[in-house]
Symmetry: C2
Subunit: 696 residues, 2 copies
């Protein structure tokens, strides 16, 4: 945390620089050196700018220094737009001038096959404490200091949103949308190669930045998964973050990889990480912007009850359709409230239910109805769906937002010139305005989700269990997978039920074991060469007596000797066959970016074909485990809905927590599959276990 | 069709009216009578306008007639904004003036509890031939004639899109979006109560209107389902239609019902109807607009191969993610083409794969690359993803759209002032421009889908089979459901396989039948009172010999006598038990709007919990049946993917066609459930059938 604090202080000094040198300033309008100087001037920077160019002279009325050394004063910041090979020398000079940081717009490093240059500048940074932004970026813009060393665009509309992205175009687009609409931004940061400062550092800074209410991010991958997780855990509880990670499809991941060379990791795991730590994670650019807008402007909703009010029945219906889809509640209105509504002088065509179609473009009707609805506490969120030129919309909205206990959001469309001017005026009052009802609902849903996350109902994640010892797995180390007999030991250690069983070397053994544990039994081959036992005929089920067991044993051994003559057979596992129940699977996998994650699903075709699975990162807490179970589409099968038997979900929750502890403890386990786990109305049982060892 | 032709001619005369009276014209700016006159003047109408108001005088320099009779010339059209009770009288006068139609903006009819007034004006229309638009509408706008009797908004930007909606706000929003972006519209029609002319009539008109290239619709329900189906079948093959029907959730349906009183019907059936006839059906307002824009501007794509090209790697990745999600192909680029690309003088940072990240804002690079890609036929659609201020984007896009065999669409964002002006200029050239990559892909996907629909590979729908006779079902008519033994007769008639079986009145019968058909057998109770047999203990499976059958028969009879003493037992059905296989269900249901529809799904929990089902309207053609099977998420289970056994999909297709024929023939069947149908690698078998009779 000391390091984090220092980094935040460095970024603070950089963003609030009072003196900046621009190395590579140019008089040629086609050059980045010109565009960047021009941006700084247009942004209205009030500190000192020192253009640096060996040619000297003046630029835009400023005297040009022939080198950084010649700058006649100490510097807070240097901005660099000269070719990559000159950058190391300039950084060394910047150190001597006392700079806190360098914004390196220049490209031509790792992305152009020069990782050595990148190493060199990183080493200068490490040795000197000079912090680097970039290289290979469009620039940065910090509006509270009017500091805009960014060749494009120059945004001057201040607002509550910090934009952090891995794409110059997204930086520009999100900033421009916010500026054009009247929302405004506090900062825009283009990440580039992130050789020193990275997304996590900026998140930590904006968490403390009083000018920023929410952070919007577009990334194609993250630089350091573990670090990113620690950071969002810390930051998201203080300040809302909305994120779009591209690469949700395999083709998209490939594209992202060629663009920034980011290691994408498993997209579901990324989403699971975001969900766990309260980051709003979305799938497309406009929903990203809408979510960020809501998070940056709305007070925290008390609940999820939404009441759309409109001059337009159509707009109401679209809002309700989307609200239901997004899990918001559209409650019936109490009769007493409807009674009071009837006393107001509303249109005879008004529909007095939820949604409320006023059938009127009178802003006063909006005022009266929403004030009353708020007084009667019929909803947590009022969506003013202005469709049509509602005169006075701005004033009424301002009044309602200021006086209502519920939160107020606006959708405005189909209102012509009246709409175009009101939209910006309302947004400038800090009340979010959306261009379509569905987009308003998406923003509101993000705010509701985040508010729920922030409610202090969290329990600490389950710690690695103290009794278990980390260490080499009990396997022999020469195969990628443990045999089942080895893997079962882990289940025992973590109290995960497994059928009664024994390992038989001979048919006689098998019969003795079967007799002891009781019929019917299952036979399973045990060989380090055989991972998918049933695929090779290594499983026999439903054996009901000693004769069947003996015959089964011998047939299986003969069969295996034939199909896999090289496989060493350690024996045959005799297991008591489990009664009927519902099968699920639990898996643990290692994500290249975020580390271990747990997967849960209904197994078989539900997992493979329907892809109905949920993910969370290790370690799980109880809420995570419950959430994983509840969020699969097939949840009603487990919960006893629709005529199904309710499974023992408490035991299933415990099992997920046990698996999480196992994975956290046993660093030697890389992947785990419990497939199937059979659930009963009371209790459960893992019927098969597969463990892939670390380093495989 | 004669009637349709006459209606189209009437609408043509109305829209192209050369003389219009406005009854209720007013000098008071707060009145609709003022706003509507103002709109007509601002739209630049070049025919004669006759304001009518008993007060006389002049309005906007036009002499005011004190009544319609006083108008000194014949009239094509009357526009009415006076109170509802005056409307019938005015219509009668309009008839005497020779009007072709009346645009009735006035509200206060059915929606205000005056269906009698609505009946009256309809009766005038029917008797006289005067066609009615509305009542209860914002108005209409037909731009080729600069005719805009609509109190809001006044859109004058002409373009290829006809807007038809059931909501004034949607009419305004879609028109304004199109006007602001440079796309423009041919017409905007607000439907209102549709007492005479309805959505189907306007569709027929726009199908013939040379100024319209595509139709965009927002509806909350349709006036006449059968009529609507016939119309879209006729129109969509000539002109593309994009439609949003609100009410996709139960809460939304309720809202829509209170807004327009529309009978929503089953949303899935509506979608199925649209899919069948080639109407692009979407779920939200912006996607509606984006789809319509693409359909109104793009040439028909030859295929679904998309190549996004961008200055921004990020924009490319978002486009690819969405393209894959929407079923477009993002093909690998041939090595030979990449070789040729390398010869161009592109940026060293360019990524020469699909998507193509040029890492350059040179419009010339776009020109070179796309021209070459088109020459080499590497894609059917080129998405120019301009992110950044690409100078010259307009000219290059125009050149490429004019010269490429592939189609060209644009996404432009994050490009500042350059973007804002280019966007409109490009759109005005008739090339669609979208504000985000995902939205561009959604538009393109609509155009691709429609192009596929239009390919003349359709087969005629299966006719009602000529051998089968319609008539009363073989049931006794006093219960809602047929007994299974009655329902089986239909299966036989339509050659749908059912297990060998017989009806037993005694235990001895049952044993005899079982012996004849072979073991194991299933027993099922036959009683008109028992629809869900297994719920009451009316099914016994896996009986392997005569003893078990006899005991089963007696137990079941005794049990039923106890739990349902009133139920008349006709006997017990003894069926040969089917071998294992994969179970699916097929159902037929009657939608209140569109009539009979067929449902297909995997059955059981897949249908009830996962809602993984597909719908089509009766009658099905072979392509419909194949589409129904292929579009469920669980399709891989049937097709033999991922280690599953391939089921007999040919037989399943035949079964769907048979069911469609049965439903078309047998008007006495209201609902049908074949649940389950067991599929084998060769053949299939319906294991249970339930028929609900018409009139239940």
């Amino acid at each position: 945390m000391v390091q984090t604090d220092q980094t935040v202080q460095s970024i603070h000094r950089i963003f609030n620089a009072r003196s900046v040198a621009l190395v590579g300033a140019s008089a040629d309008p086609t050059k980045f050196g010109y565009m960047t100087l021009n941006s700084m001037l247009r942004a209205g920077y009030e500190g000192q700018i020192y253009p640096v160019n060996p040619k000297g002279g003046t630029l835009a009325g400023l005297p040009v220094c022939s080198s950084l050394k010649e700058v006649p004063a100490p510097l807070d910041l240097v901005v660099i737009v000269v070719p990559a090979n000159l950058v190391p020398g300039i950084l060394r000079e910047a150190v001597t001038k006392g700079c806190a940081g360098a914004v390196i717009l220049t490209a031509g490093f790792r992305e152009s096959g020069r990782p050595d240059l990148e190493e060199e500048i990183l080493s200068i940074s490490r040795q000197s404490g000079l912090r680097l932004l970039g290289p290979n970026i469009q620039g940065i813009n910090y509006l509270p200091n009017k500091l805009c060393p960014m060749f494009f665009p120059v945004i001057t509309k201040r607002g509550p949103l910090a934009v952090v992205t891995q794409s110059g175009t997204m930086t520009a687009a999100l900033s421009e949308w916010a500026a054009d609409e009247g929302l405004g931004i506090s900062a825009a940061i283009n990440l580039g190669n992130q050789v020193d400062l990275c997304e996590s550092d900026y998140l930590d800074f904006f968490a403390t930045d009083e000018h920023t209410r929410a952070i919007v991010m577009y990334v194609e991958g993250v630089k350091n998964g573990k670090r990113f997780l620690e950071t969002i855990e810390r930051v998201a509880s203080r300040k809302p973050i909305a994120i779009l990670k591209s690469g949700r499809t395999a083709a998209g991941q490939k594209s992202a990889a060629s663009h920034t060379g980011s290691l994408a990791g498993n997209n579901e795991v990324f989403k699971a990480a975001c969900r766990k730590f309260g980051v709003v994670c979305v799938d497309d650019l406009e929903t990203l912007y809408d979510s960020a807008k809501a998070l940056a402007t709305l007070r925290s909703p008390r609940g999820n009850r939404v009441l759309p009010i409109s001059s337009s029945g159509g707009a109401c219906t679209l809002a309700v359709d989307e609200a239901v889809t997004k899990g918001l509640s559209v409650p019936e209105l109490p009769e007493s409230f409807k009674g009071e509504l009837k006393k107001l002088n509303l249109s005879a065509l008004a529909t007095l239910s939820n949604p409320l179609d006023l059938a009127s473009i009178s802003s006063d009707h909006f005022r009266q109805v929403v004030s009353l609805a708020d007084q009667k506490n019929v909803a947590d969120i009022f969506l003013l769906n202005y469709g049509d030129p509602v005169v006075g919309a701005t004033e009424v909205t301002q009044h309602l937002a200021a006086h209502c206990k519920g939160i107020v959001a606006v959708s405005f469309f189909g209102g012509g010139e009246e709409e175009k001017s009101s939209r910006i005026r309302i947004q400038e009052l800090g009340i979010p305005v959306f261009p379509a009802p569905e987009r308003a609902i998406r923003g509101i849903a993000a705010a509701v989700w985040y508010a729920r996350f922030r409610q202090p109902q969290k329990e600490a994640p389950s710690e690695a269990s103290s009794t278990a010892k980390a260490g080499a797995p009990p396997g022999k180390g020469d195969q990628r997978f443990l045999t089942e007999i080895e893997a079962i030991k882990y289940l025992k250690q973590y109290k995960i039920p497994y059928p009664k069983h024994g390992l038989a070397r001979t048919a006689k053994d098998a019969v003795t074991i079967a007799k002891r544990i009781g019929y019917p039994v299952v036979l399973k081959i045990v060989s380090p060469h055989v991972v998918h036992k049933s695929d090779v005929g290594g499983v026999l089920m439903g054996l009901n007596n000693g004769k069947e067991v003996a015959r089964g044993f011998n047939e299986m051994k003969d069969h295996l000797a034939k199909v896999l003559p090289e496989a060493p057979i350690e024996g045959i596992l005799v297991c008591k066959q489990a009664p009927k129940g519902l099968d699920v699977i639990v898996g643990a996998l290692e994500d290249p970016v975020f580390g271990s994650a747990i997967m849960f699903g209904l197994g078989g075709i539900f997992t493979e074909v329907m892809q109905d699975v949920s993910f969370r990162l290790v370690p799980l807490n109880r809420e995570d485990a419950q959430g994983m179970i509840a969020e699969i589409r097939g949840y009603p099968l487990l919960s006893g809905a629709r005529g199904q038997v309710r499974c023992d979900l408490d035991q299933l929750t415990e099992l997920l927590l046990s698996v999480s502890r196992m994975i956290a403890d046993q660093r030697s386990i890389r992947e785990l599959d419990l497939n199937p786990i059979r659930l009963f109305d009371k209790g459960l049982m893992a019927l098969d276990v597969r463990v892939m060892k670390q380093g495989s």
